[in-house]
């Protein structure tokens, strides 16, 4: 390489320079894969919105831009009283479950992380091992449980299996590992009891993890289908995914209405994401430590 080929590396030089051109096959392939990945992510959403703007006769056309776009589906769904009920059901269930997970997953995670007690490891492994059991296997015991406690077709029945999750506990435990013991010991010397330490010292330090967990849990419950479908009987207790799946009649699935409902139901998830993503900034914990 001659001296003239050396690329400028100062910030000013980089700013004025056009984006570097792909140099080799490797880079082209990488970009291609990313592009395909992007397409795979965006297309379903594009089709969801496109279908929600189509008339029923056009639904099975693959064109992305509807020939005669219409908001009729939105009017229909929003005027249908059931959708509101499902929407509120979903909001209540996803919100309560999220709050419950944030509190209890972090409480258990904190305990497993910061307290040394006999059997701690066994408890942790036991919790983790529940991650390996698929939901499909659990719905029958859950159903029997709900039946015998009289929880069928109730909010409690929909929510109880998800009020605490092994994944959330694991996530919080791992994040609490990054909270230096010094903080906790300092608080102990300052006279806080263990519950106060957890709430006033440890929890604010793991805000990024709490935000991530909130997003996961909210989305998971917002989109949950199998268990709400099984545990609910009355249309009033349906959540959005369960309710939407019933749009149309036995002969014909009303895809345009399902897609409209789905499009509307993405709005709360976007709001939740926008609220919490700003908390997901790593390094907050480190600010109080050595500089």
């Amino acid at each position: 390489m001659t001296a003239t080929e050396i690329r400028p590396t100062t910030a000013a030089a980089l700013e004025t320079k056009a984006p570097p051109k792909p140099r080799n096959m490797g880079q082209i392939i990488r970009w291609l894969l990313l592009f395909l990945g992007g397409i795979a992510m965006v297309m379903p959403i594009a089709y969801m919105i496109s279908t929600s703007l189509k008339w029923p006769h056009e639904v099975y056309n693959v064109n992305l831009i509807p020939d005669e776009p219409t908001l009729e589906n939105y009017l229909y769904v929003l005027e249908d009283g059931r959708f509101y009920k499902w929407f509120i059901n979903s909001i209540i269930i996803a919100t309560l479950t999220t709050i419950s997970n944030l509190l209890f997953d972090s409480l258990v995670g904190y305990t497993l992380c910061k307290f040394k007690f006999p059997g701690r490891q066994i408890v942790f492994i036991a919790i983790l091992s529940t991650l390996m059991i698929p939901t499909e296997m659990l719905v029958i015991p859950w159903y029997l449980m709900s039946q015998s406690f009289g929880w069928l077709d109730s909010y409690w029945g929909i929510m109880f299996p998800g009020l605490m999750t092994a994944f959330g506990t694991f996530l919080m435990k791992q994040f609490f590992e990054s909270v230096p013991d010094d903080f906790i010991e300092a608080a102990r010397i300052d006279g806080l009891n263990e519950l106060q330490i957890w709430w006033t010292v440890a929890m604010p330090l793991v805000k990024p993890a709490l935000a991530a967990l909130a997003i996961f849990v909210f989305l998971g419950n917002w989109t949950a289908f199998l268990w709400p479908l099984i545990v609910t009987n009355s249309v009033e207790m349906y959540t959005i995914p369960v309710g939407l799946s019933g749009f149309g009649d036995e002969a014909d699935v009303a895809w345009e209405l399902i897609m409209t409902g789905a499009a509307i139901s993405t709005i709360p998830t976007l709001v939740v994401f926008l609220i919490f993503q700003r908390f997901i900034i790593r390094g907050v914990v480190m600010a109080g430590l050595k500089g």
Binding site: P180, D182, E185, R188, I189, L205, G288, L289, K290, G291
Partner: protein
């Protein structure tokens, strides 16, 4: 304020004993520094005083109370941590106020106390800042403020300066010392840095492997080390050790030199003769050892020279302006009173 007493303090983790019967009296208002290499048990001792580690056996007394079974908050202590441990989500003021949470002071009194502390530490303009907008030294000051605000009987410092750069460390060292002179609380300070220990302490406690090696004023541990470990640990560069034999006539170094000492031994005894680099001179006197200069480290006002001798590598201090050349043959002399003789086997000083 109170005095602090450790009686036969031991600590074991399972079958591993890490502290072997620590006995110490710290007077009211005294500034005591625990120093030793890592793993010597100094931090463990401090944490046991704080109540963050359980005492395996023995007693910790603060004032007249045995505090073994008291929670940290009931011990009337405050602690400053190596990592400062100031809460990043709270302002400086809230951090300082945190120390007063469990206090019975009225709100205006608490406010007044926070202001006082902020003034002492010259932090008034910083009170509304968050820790991430502070420099390392300022953060450490906040941590000290949080400890001070409670006016505890005993202040505990766990290597609080080790994360600061050299210049700031020197500055904070001075500030803490001044602070002690001003507030006069009992302080137990842990460090691995012997310079910190020497400069700050009223008394130094030198520890190794869970045992106290020596307790004394900085001058005592420097000039009259009780054993070879203390002799080499205190002072930089380290004390040189030359092996030799003690007989009725005095000491005969393996390198060949002989000299009279106040100690004698009827039967020849293997000894180590210690001499500090500062005490070795190139000028004529009692020659101790000679050899060839291998390395020079100029420090400005003086130059450290490393001399290859039959007794191994010896460090000495030479003039800063005209040090001997590398490769020069030099003879190092010392006043006999500056030679320390230690038993080669036990390491104990022979006096």
């Amino acid at each position: 304020m109170a005095n602090l007493t450790l009686r036969n303090l031991t600590k074991s983790y399972g079958s591993t004993q890490v502290l072997h019967g620590i006995n110490l009296e710290v007077g009211d208002g005294e500034f005591v520094v625990f120093v030793g290499p890592s793993g010597c048990g100094k931090s463990t001792t401090l944490r046991m005083i704080a109540g963050l580690e359980e005492v395996t056996s023995g007693e910790v007394l603060i004032g007249d109370r045995v505090v073994n079974n008291l929670e940290p908050k009931e011990r009337d202590i405050a602690m400053v941590f190596q990592n400062y441990a100031i809460y990043p989500h709270m302002s400086v003021k809230k951090n300082i106020a945190f120390g007063l949470r469990s206090s019975s002071l009225s709100k205006p009194d608490k406010e007044k106390r926070i202001q006082e502390v902020a003034e002492i530490l010259s932090m008034v303009p910083l009170l509304d800042r968050k820790p991430n907008a502070l420099s390392g030294g300022q953060r450490q000051r906040v941590a000290i403020g949080r400890a001070m605000v409670r006016d505890p009987a005993v202040f505990l410092f766990d290597e609080p300066l080790s994360n600061l750069d050299a210049q700031l460390r020197t500055q904070m060292r001075l500030e803490i010392k001044k602070l002690h002179q001003r507030v006069g609380n009992t302080i137990v300070f842990v460090t691995h840095d012997q310079v910190e220990a020497m400069t700050m302490a009223d008394r130094i406690v030198i520890m190794k492997d869970g045992h106290i090696q020596q307790v004394g004023t900085p001058a005592e541990v420097y000039h009259m080390p009780e054993n070879a470990f203390v002799a080499q640990f205190i002072g930089a560069p380290s004390m040189n050790m030359l092996s030799g034999t003690l007989t009725v006539d005095g000491v005969a170094l393996d390198a060949g030199t002989r000299f009279q000492t106040s100690q004698t031994s009827g039967t020849p005894q293997d000894v180590m003769v210690g001499v500090r680099p500062d005490d070795l001179t190139l000028e004529a006197g009692n020659p101790v050892v000679s050899g060839i200069v291998t390395v020079r480290e100029p420090l400005g006002h003086e130059t450290l020279i490393y001399v290859d001798t039959p007794s191994g590598e010896i460090i000495a201090k030479a003039s800063g302006k005209t040090p001997p050349e590398v490769g020069a043959h030099v003879t190092l002399s010392a006043d006999l009173e500056n030679l320390h003789v230690f038993d080669a086997e036990t390491g104990l000083a022979l006096r």
